[in-house]
Symmetry: D2
Subunit: 350 residues, 4 copies
């Protein structure tokens, strides 16, 4: 009953097999190996972006922070949602990599920035006045931290505001596959066709061991990215193991199938949670993340039975008796089964 | 005939097997898994350092730069050899992580800093005067970039000067196992018993896929390290795969056996290179790296035959006819065989 | 009719005379001169803080950002008001000097942080979890950007929360003299007796040319401050001119007299603005800054007559006819006279 | 007998008078005042550079570090002389402002970089390889720290190498007027006509209180400079006082006359030192700085008589009896008189 995060699952069989296969013999290092090159090509093909620069790193925070560093100057505002991973969960990585930068936050229901919210924020940052930070970049997360998915048209509406403000658009796609599975959009539709300049294309959460690609649709910033990556210690010597993972991840559309499975389990779980006595959903469950509220007694019972998930927000008081409500986050992964979901629902239902 | 670097080899069978085994089922993330904890304990045991803090990262540059960041203030001098990896091969990673810092270099024959050289450098940096950078840290590489090994007493002599100057000592142990195999020293003798405060304990070059441990002998700086690691994007979500590698690396002394093999091949190669007509060694070949000079014609022939190694320094002119000499670097790894060495020597000898 | 800012006024006669007098002959540089030493001693005396470290810089942004750099680690949260100068008006200077840092903002009416607001913010930043930024520092502005004054007891209540959270307290005292004049508190009561660790003690706005003192009540951080100041280019070679200004500023309580005059003019102006037809105050006018709302027609008239002040916030639409209201900020200085105030009120009243 | 530095002198009468005059009445702040604008125009005129961006700061370290930040990326090599102020005397300011950077040093006799030395250094930094820092900028000091002057043709030869390497050229002109007086070159000949991109145009050492202009000959980087200056706390609110100094400094060629006087005193002193029994010059005394060696007994005597100057390098042992030699640096300023020089020579001669 593991629903704490999709990063508690392992790698898919095909990813593991590719890593094992890549181990044979000698290989050029630092990205000059055939696995890396094949993976880069596979990403370009998946995104219908033959000119894009594709660079591999091992963590989502590295992908996000390095992306920010090539988009945003040290005196730039990073427009993002107040719940964004770059704001909440990276211990200040964007600021470290940018050498400054200021997260300028919007609220937005269900984890999504709205055009109105973004426009208001942009308007409140005076430009051309040296006392104030300047427009820096827009960062969207898709799938969002609330488990909802931006549709391409929603991305495009926000990106148009960014373009008007003269800044680039980053998408944190730690769960990009889940966003595609949720919306039916193609990789290209969700990114460069909608105005995204740089994508953190996550694979670790959806069946890789540890690999993410940064996709830079306009390759002019590619060399700067490479220097920043090396300088940050994120260039792997035995890069074949990153390349092998990413290649296997994309092979035959496996990544989308795995994400679809995770999303189906999310939907199944969401339906079950909403049907609990006293249960209700907090956000629409577009993908593999489900936020729900339910009576505290259910939480006590499920936890005692070994269910793993996070109360969200983290600081809910659990002291005292009674039937008060808790709110919790559940995450399904590529390896979550119907039986896993049903068992969790059973222990919650009692 | 692959002698370009020890990072062109793959992982050892035991490391690969451990990664495969660790993939089964769910595991806690971000270092709370059993593999990481076992690896940390194994490192502490190998170093006879039950109090040490042990943190895993995936690259040597990350290990070095994060180590520097907890030892050196932004206005600090990093005393190191002019050929050190931190100076030459990390695209300014220490300066990025420290938020400044200045590499203050000494020459020193055969890749080693001498006490006299260090003392002279320390004396030339005025202290207590706000116009000048202050003593920051000492960074030693062992095995050195020249392929030589510091003995524990040599480390201790340098560390004593650092202690007197009030600064900490870092050891870049990207090839730490090779240094131990070369000297017969124990891990403890080579580090904390000799005055080393923080070690970049490399495994990637000696048979892991991608893992290094930072060993902080005085754990007071451990929490700061953890924050800096996260903030730099070097904390892995599926940390079990780092832990599994390091655990298998240390299992039953395999790491030392692999290093001994690489060193033996280095010695065999050194003997052969020195015996070539016109051949001579540039540095003593204490470990798995060999620097030699030999006639250009031999280089042309070996390269044509498919031998891989680097001319060193990189900017040797190869134009024109004649018997001029080249100098080159050869690196053996855990997977280098006697047959590999002999084949290389054959094609060089013609 | 100059009410745009207190920094449009010049220096007081005594400050100018001191600068002229200090010019005679040779003087030691970089702070070793008698004027700097006398100024440091005068600050310590004024604050009843014989152990305090006192360092001079030329701008308020430098004082604030350097203060932040010695209080807050790169991964720290800087708790401040959303209107604070460090957030709004310094183009990201704290983030630059800290090498990161994140401004965590509270609203708070009339420019003041409340204990409730601060406690809520502190509670929302998870501690001891490496994914999140950690408590860094508290920064209060007094006189606030809204023109209100914290009383010592208010400062103490906030500082107590900071102390409990294990972080230091900075006060941005760009208008510190005005805050003292508004409250009757002594320098010591408003700072170290209330729990302030580091003060940006402004003089430029209240009659100096360009000098601020950073007062570090616990001198343990003094040397780090000096290194950071030099490294930022804020150590003056001909430091006598900073010392002379600060010495003359403090001489015979002149600084408090000038602030009292500015505050009196603020009060006179506030009374007049509130009495305008359609006029009302936005914030209590505790000091020399007055925020008021009044019909747009008055603004058009006053501006045409040459009155200088800022509409606040900056983005008020002034298009179109009618009697709509504007809101504006007026700042009085040591050199503002009753006649100046009365003339402004006349042109507003029409 | 004050020869420790040209920064121990005060301001010239015309600079002081201008500051006093600028104090009258109100003035726009942050550089929008008439004095700043007039000074900018005067600099442009003096340099025959109508398009140049001119920005004022108060210290030479600020001018140098901000200049470096707009010329050099964080992963860039700053080619400079090993004795350069940016390397030796700024506590790492360039690295702080650049967010990295690495000073790559050349020796060069008498404080000057040679084309051969620079070419060798450029050749030793591999380009296009992500492991190594990249060419960043060239920084020359004129008048050099050794008291010698680059001629325009010498600057041009070095700048041509920089241009070929694709990097910009900075000149640290803390004593720029002395370099002009020494060579007879015009401001334009010594800078943009010779290939200099950005000049730190010092005034503080030659008769101002505290002002330097950064002259950016290609104004495309001007806005970035302004943002960096504000963000570093180097934008003055009461900017009129910086503008007034710089305007008066340039008025009627006074700056060149003062430098010529300082240089004449340097020449007189050099002649006298060389004529001392056992005296000799260490570097050619092109300007106002003189390095000489002479018997230790003379130093003891002069110091006892109240002469101020620095032994150079700083770490000469003065213990023990005897006639050993010391080496010392003497600096003349605009206010040094023939009587001052002769008195010093008298006490040295005994």
């Amino acid at each position: 009953m593991e629903f704490a995060s999709d990063n508690t699952s392992g790698a898919t069989p095909e990813v593991l097999a590719a890593v094992v296969a890549a181990n044979a013999g000698y290989a050029a290092s630092y990205g000059a190996d055939q696995w890396t090159e094949a993976a880069q090509e596979a990403v370009r093909k998946a995104f219908e972006a033959p000119q894009a620069a594709v660079h591999l790193v091992a963590t989502g925070t590295a992908a996000n922070a390095l992306s920010a560093a090539i988009l945003c100057p040290p005196w730039g505002a990073i427009y993002s949602h107040e719940a964004a991973h770059v704001e909440v969960d990276e211990c200040g990585a964007p600021e470290f990599y940018i050498g400054g930068g200021k997260l300028v936050l919007t609220a937005g229901t269900h984890g999504k920035i709205t055009p109105e919210g973004l426009a208001a924020r942009l308007a409140r940052t005076p430009q051309g006045d040296v006392h104030h930070i300047q427009h820096g970049m827009l960062s969207l997360t898709n799938l969002t931290e609330a488990g909802t998915a931006y549709r391409p048209a929603e991305v495009a509406a926000l990106a148009a505001l960014a373009l008007k403000a003269g800044i680039g658009v980053h998408m944190d796609g730690a769960r990009f596959a889940n966003a595609l599975a949720a919306t039916g959009a193609t990789p290209a539709e969700m990114t460069w066709k909608a105005g995204v300049d740089v994508l953190s294309f996550g694979a670790s959460k959806n069946g890789a061991m540890a690999v993410e690609a940064v996709v830079i649709f306009d390759p002019a910033k590619s060399w700067e990215f490479e220097l920043r990556r090396k300088r940050a210690g994120h260039l792997f010597s035995k890069s074949r193991f990153l390349g092998a993972q990413m290649g296997a991840y994309l092979q035959d559309g496996g990544w989308l199938a795995h994400a679809a499975q995770a999303n189906r389990m999310g939907q199944r779980l969401a339906n079950g949670l909403a049907a609990l006595p006293g249960g209700r959903l907090i956000h629409p469950a577009d993908g593999n993340i489900v936020f729900a509220a339910f009576p505290r007694a259910l939480h006590v019972r499920a936890t005692a039975a070994g269910a793993h998930y996070y109360l969200w927000p983290f600081d809910q008081t659990l002291e005292g008796p009674g039937e008060e409500e808790v709110t919790a986050r559940f995450v399904c992964s590529w390896s979550t089964t119907e039986a896993d979901v049903d068992r969790l629902l059973e222990v919650l239902a009692g």
